[in-house]
Symmetry: C2
Subunit: 341 residues, 2 copies
């Protein structure tokens, strides 16, 4: 397996990206293509004491870098020789099996759509973080790629999330829930009402295991394996969880600190809450998969250090194994509500 | 001041409602009208050892009770002699200054709109809980009364929340934020884009202090005094906070329990998190004000015991003092985007 890695994306590029890639080569049986400014990459290897390019790693040169200041929707086109554009092109051309970048989410999303392309018939790609709950965790789809959605997008998200949860979590018939403001089928805005009908029909036809509407609280408490919503609501959901974790962290500071013993307890609980908070933050999750693209694309968080990059590469390798694209392609007819494309 | 209380609404009616009302009479300088089945109310007084109706309390008879099984949108019309219908009618007719009920939220919302009426020109009433953050707290408007909103509703929510925060929190020019999936003015769906323009104009015209878009996390961390959103998003926001608090509570159970000392620490932290969680839950907040109605209506949580009812009555008394209705009425022209009504 060969994973293409954007060596120039993220706050700690290229040093931490390259370190993470090297760790991945030695710990996971995968090869890496590092995409980026060749001279800079070589200089990092030199600093690390390597006189040659380490085994299992290739470099593909790219002269430009997409930064957070670039317009996400046009950067891919205006910076044709950027590490992201070059990396996605390698993925499209079959030179690697998956692409990992810690660069701009918006640029990665439009680049993946423009270059690697969506699965034929899939209307929109979605960002799908894996979140903690009181059980084995769950996928949130979409968490912010598409603020405005149609019922058909949500139907497709349900399929995408279900197939990916099944292959990546190894569970049969994952429980798919629709995020809503109540459990009854009559809840929500027109979007939820229409999406409910579509997903429910797909479930009754045997393609999905739809458990109906799920409230935000129940989702966190483990009600479903896949939580479907538009990207606007997904963002509010995720950021609320993160906010509450942060609020509790700051409250803890007030509670503890009175004695050495309570300080020790505080350290224990703080660590756990920080872990949970980190897992709630799409920017600090090792990697978030982008579903709906014809090949696996993983967004690593912008502030990734070596360990997080290694985690994202590991996730990319898992996504290659669990790639839902062929199954989605084979079943695309059940995810359409009209013949237009 | 005289507060009308629905003696029959909620899980613990009428006993706990009546106890709470009696405590309010003795602790707050207010009179109470108890609305409900007279015989049952008298029997509660008897059980409490009173041979007569206690001082400061009046009873107004109502022969029916709206239950959670009744359809919220029609119950007010079909049960014309219910405690809720009678109580709201007393409020409309000036027999009291505010109304408190722990009964069905939906029925109370439609009853308040039908009987007491909205402020002339206000399109929709909203549920406005006061939530904890890292600072002095903030109002969320709307938290579930209106799943589907127009930009004009959100403009009106901004005014309603701002006026109420100013009078009830005693702060000048409360910071009004629009809940969105990013801070930039270009974020959100068409609803947020249009609402942003309207609220921003009102702010530039000097009627409001709009601080722009606020992400869910920043709202929890204290970014604004009033957080404006549609009721669908408000519900997801609130339930996510509650879910995260519950998840952390269940995580804590796993962390602690290994020794007596950690058990003691666990008790301290548990209490604080439970308090926060309770404050996040609209069903366990002492009372949530309904804004946009021409007179103060307070929803007490369904599982209210005496202390919570007393709290809701206290909040009703505060709402009478802080009533934003006259100011909203006087400024209604700035909250309209067309002449239709």
């Amino acid at each position: 397996m060969k994973i293409i890695v954007d060596a120039m994306g993220g706050d700690n590029a290229p040093d931490e990206i390259i370190k993470g890639a090297m760790d991945a080569v030695s710990e996971i049986s995968t090869e890496i293509i590092l995409c980026g400014i060749g001279e800079e990459i070589l200089r990092v290897f030199e600093r690390m004491g390597h006189s040659d390019i380490p085994r299992g790693i290739e470099i593909v040169n790219a002269s430009e870098v997409i930064t957070m200041e670039d317009d996400p929707s046009t950067a891919i086109r205006t910076k044709k020789d950027s590490s992201m554009t070059v990396g996605l092109t390698l993925l499209r051309d079959g030179m690697g099996d998956a692409f990992v970048s810690a660069g701009s989410t918006g640029a990665l999303l439009s680049g993946a759509t423009l270059i690697v392309k969506r699965i034929r018939g899939i209307r929109r790609a979605a960002l799908v973080p894996f979140l903690p709950n009181s059980g084995r965790g769950f996928y949130l789809i979409d968490c912010g790629a598409n603020a405005e959605c149609t019922p058909e997008y949500l139907l497709q998200f349900a399929f995408m999330g279900s197939y990916y949860a099944e292959s990546s979590m190894g569970i049969e018939a994952p429980r798919v829930g629709l995020l809503n403001n109540g459990a009854e089928a009559t809840k929500g805005t027109q979007l939820q009402l229409d999406a409910y009908a579509l997903i429910d029909k797909a479930s009754r036809d045997g393609y999905l295991n739809f458990i109906g509407n799920v409230e935000a609280k129940e989702a966190v408490m483990g009600a479903c394996d896949v939580l479907v919503c538009d990207g606007f609501t997904g963002n509010v959901f995720l950021k609320s969880l993160e906010g509450m974790a942060s609020l509790l962290m700051s409250e803890l500071k007030g509670i503890y600190g009175s004695s050495l013993l309570t300080k020790l307890s505080a350290l224990m609980i703080k660590k756990r809450i920080m872990e949970l908070r980190a897992r709630m933050n799409p920017d600090t999750i090792g990697g978030t998969i982008m579903l709906g693209i014809s090949k696996p694309v993983i967004k690593a968080h912008g502030s990734s250090k070596a360990a997080a990059i290694k985690g994202a590469i590991r996730q990319a390798a898992a996504a290659v194994e669990a790639d839902p694209a062929p199954r989605l392609q084979a079943n695309i007819e059940h995810m359409k509500i009209d013949s237009a494309e």
